[in-house]
C-alpha cells in the first residue's frame, strides 16, 4: 500500500538516488493509454517479422531493442532480403532520435544511482518521453515516473508483437500477406509524416531509390537514399 502524494514526495526526497514505487505506479497508469495507442504498430511489426524471424527472435528484438520504428524497419529490410550490416546501420540512423529525447529528459532524472539510471534509460521511448515530460513539468512527480510510463509501453509492446507474429504465421500464403509490409509502410507514412517538407523528402527518397538501385547492391539502397534525401531536405526550409 502506498501512501498519499505527499508521502511519496517525502519518501522520494529521503531516498536520494532511488526511484520511488509510487512514482512508478503513477507513470504506469499515465502511460497505459499511449501504450495502447502504439499496440497496432507492434502487431504490424510482428506480422512483418513473421517473414524472416522466428517467434523467439521476434520477441527478443521487442524485449531488447524496444524501439518501434527501428524494429519495423529492420524486419522490413530483412523481409526484402537485405544483408545484415545495412540493417544495423539503418537502425542506428533511425534511432539517433533517442539521443535527443534522452538529452531533453536528463535534467529530470539526474542524480539517480546506477541501477535506477540504467532502468530509466532503457524505458525511454517516444511515448514514455511525451507522457513524462508533461508530468515532470506540471506535477511534482519523481524520476520513477519515466520508468513507470516506459514499463506500460514495454508490457503492451511485448504482447502486441506476439499477437502480430502469430497472425503473420496463421494467414496462409496467397491471401495477400506478402502485401502486409507495403500496406503497413503506407499507413506509417500517413501517420508519421506531418508537413509538406517531410512529404517532399519522402517523394525525393522514392525517386532516389529508383535511381540508386540501378547502380548499387539492393541492401544499401535504403540507407543511401535516406542520407541523400534528408540532407537535401535541409534546404527545403520554405515548406515547413
Amino acid at each position: 500500500m502506498t501512501g498519499t502524494d505527499d508521502d511519496g514526495t517525502i519518501a522520494a526526497m529521503s531516498t536520494a538516488g532511488n526511484i520511488h514505487w509510487s512514482d512508478v505506479r503513477a507513470g504506469f497508469r499515465a502511460g497505459l493509454p499511449v501504450a495502447a495507442g502504439c499496440a497496432p504498430f507492434g502487431v504490424a511489426y510482428g506480422a512483418v517479422a513473421a517473414a524472416t524471424l522466428s517467434p523467439a527472435q521476434t520477441s527478443l528484438m521487442s524485449a531488447t531493442v524496444f524501439a518501434g520504428t527501428a524494429q519495423f524497419v529492420a524486419a522490413s529490410m530483412l523481409a526484402q532480403g537485405s544483408a545484415l550490416l545495412p540493417v544495423l546501420l539503418t537502425c542506428a540512423l533511425v534511432n539517433l532520435r533517442l539521443l535527443l529525447l534522452s538529452a531533453a529528459i536528463s535534467p529530470h532524472v539526474r542524480g539517480l544511482r546506477l541501477g535506477p539510471r540504467l532502468l530509466s534509460a532503457f524505458m525511454l521511448t517516444d511515448e514514455s518521453f511525451a507522457v513524462s515530460v508533461a508530468a515532470f513539468r506540471e506535477r511534482h512527480v519523481g524520476p520513477g515516473f519515466l520508468a513507470g510510463a516506459g514499463l506500460a509501453v514495454f508490457v503492451l509492446w511485448q504482447i502486441a508483437s506476439v499477437v502480430g507474429r502469430l497472425a503473420g504465421s496463421l494467414i496462409p500464403q496467397g491471401y495477400g500477406l506478402e502485401y502486409a509490409l507495403a500496406a503497413s509502410l503506407i499507413c506509417l507514412l500517413f501517420m508519421l509524416v506531418r508537413n509538406r517538407r517531410q512529404w517532399a523528402v519522402a517523394l525525393l527518397s522514392i525517386l532516389l531509390t529508383l535511381g540508386v538501385r540501378q547502380v548499387m547492391p539492393d541492401a544499401w539502397v535504403v540507407l543511401v537514399a535516406t542520407l541523400i534525401a534528408t540532407t537535401v531536405g535541409l534546404g527545403f526550409r520554405r515548406w515547413q
Binding site: F41, V65, I186, F190, W199, A202, S205, I206
Partner: protein, 102 residues
C-alpha cells in the same frame, strides 16, 4: 544465429543512445541542424522501403503490377482512417484480388 547477433547489436546501439546523455555529467547538446535533419529521417526511410515494396525490380511495366495498383486503395484508407489494422486488411485484400485478376 547471425540474425540473433544482429538483434543484439541493434539493442546495444539503441541502449547507448538512450543512456549516454543521462550518464554524461555535462549538459548534452547537439547543433540545431542536427534536430532538423533527424526530423526528416523517418519519412525518408519509410518512403525508400515503400518504393522497394511497390516497384519490384526488373518489372518491365511497373504501372500494371498489382503491388503498385493495390497501393492506391491502401493509401486512401490510410489517409482517411490513419488506422493500421484497417489499412492492412484493405491492402491485403486489394492485392489478393488484383493478383487473381491480372
Amino acid at each position: 544465429m547471425a540474425v540473433t547477433l544482429l538483434i543484439l547489436a541493434m539493442a546495444a546501439v539503441t541502449f547507448a543512445y538512450r543512456y549516454a546523455p543521462l550518464a554524461l555529467l555535462e549538459r548534452f547538446k547537439l547543433p540545431g541542424w542536427a534536430y532538423d535533419w533527424l526530423e526528416l529521417v523517418p519519412a525518408a526511410v519509410l518512403a525508400a522501403m515503400l518504393c522497394q515494396a511497390v516497384f519490384p525490380k526488373g518489372e518491365s511495366q511497373p504501372w500494371q503490377n498489382p503491388e503498385l495498383l493495390a497501393a492506391v486503395p491502401t493509401a486512401i484508407v490510410a489517409w482517411r482512417t490513419k488506422s493500421m489494422l484497417r489499412t492492412m486488411i484493405v491492402g491485403m485484400m486489394a492485392y489478393a484480388l488484383l493478383t487473381h485478376m491480372l
